[in-house]
Amino acid sequence: MDLSGRITLGEGSALLRSTIRELLEEKRFKILVNLADINYIDSSGIGELVSAYTTVKNRGGELKLLHLTKKVHDLLQITKLYTVFDVHSDETGALRSFHIASV
């Protein structure tokens, strides 16, 4: 899924939550979140990403992040979440990692 804009308190966080819920309802449990066009996340947005990660994981799926902008990368670094999320900079490699994990 490709996201753009801001993931902040209010619409951004709510939209992410509803999109993840829809994907899970469609039995799509391998989710690659492209954050290339996200240049702003606040603590609410971070919480929503963590919630998405744990929700997908609890359903037996995987949620990975792709193409972090510098601001988002730095934010995940200082909050120590960079090591929690599976972060990729190459889409092909990220998609391949889902396949490898499922073999």
Binding site: T8, L9, D42, S43, G47, E48, V50, I78, T79
Partner: protein, 159 residues
């Protein structure tokens, strides 16, 4: 150097106040000469302060107010965010960096403010609730001996 200037705004307890406060403080920060990175840090800190007042302080109750005061002194930008809640103590705020809190979906706002600003404190406000006070030195006023303050080492309950 300009004389001290103050912006004093009363905000409603609603989500829109978060963006409004951020935008107002960003304009002050830009006018004060902060670069893009510092403006981002200041804007984010104001967001987090107002989110804290909106959600934790005022419990999202619309009859309560949020008070934003921005002081531009000769050497720093000082931001106060007051709510009408019950107040809180910094030492009671869990450290979001500990393993048990790492996957928490909330509780990173205080940490981000402490990380992004030069000075940060929470006191009992005149409104009866919490008053967050945070500041950033104006460009050219950096005290290099205090470098490192405001990063992860200043997190509450650092493990």
């Amino acid at each position: 150097m300009p004389d001290q200037k103050q912006l004093d705004v009363t905000l409603e307890t609603q989500v829109e106040s978060v963006n409004l406060a951020e935008e107002m403080c960003l304009r002050v920060a830009e006018a004060a000469g902060f670069d893009e990175d510092d403006c981002y840090r200041i804007g984010m800190s104001v967001r987090e302060g107002v989110i804290n007042a909106f959600h934790y302080g005022n419990q999202e109750r619309p009859e309560k107010k949020i008070y934003l005061i921005v002081d531009l002194t000769s050497d720093k930008l000082v931001i106060h965010v007051l709510d009408e809640g019950k107040g809180f103590k910094l030492e009671d705020v869990p450290n979001p960096l500990t393993e048990e809190n790492l996957l928490s979906t909330s509780g990173r706002g205080i940490f981000l403010m402490r990380s992004f600003m030069d000075e940060f404190d929470v006191v009992s406000g005149r409104t009866g609730g919490a008053e967050i006070i945070m500041s950033k030195k104006l460009p050219g006023q950096e005290d290099h001996t205090s470098n490192g303050k405001g990063d992860q080492s200043s997190a509450p309950h650092q493990a």
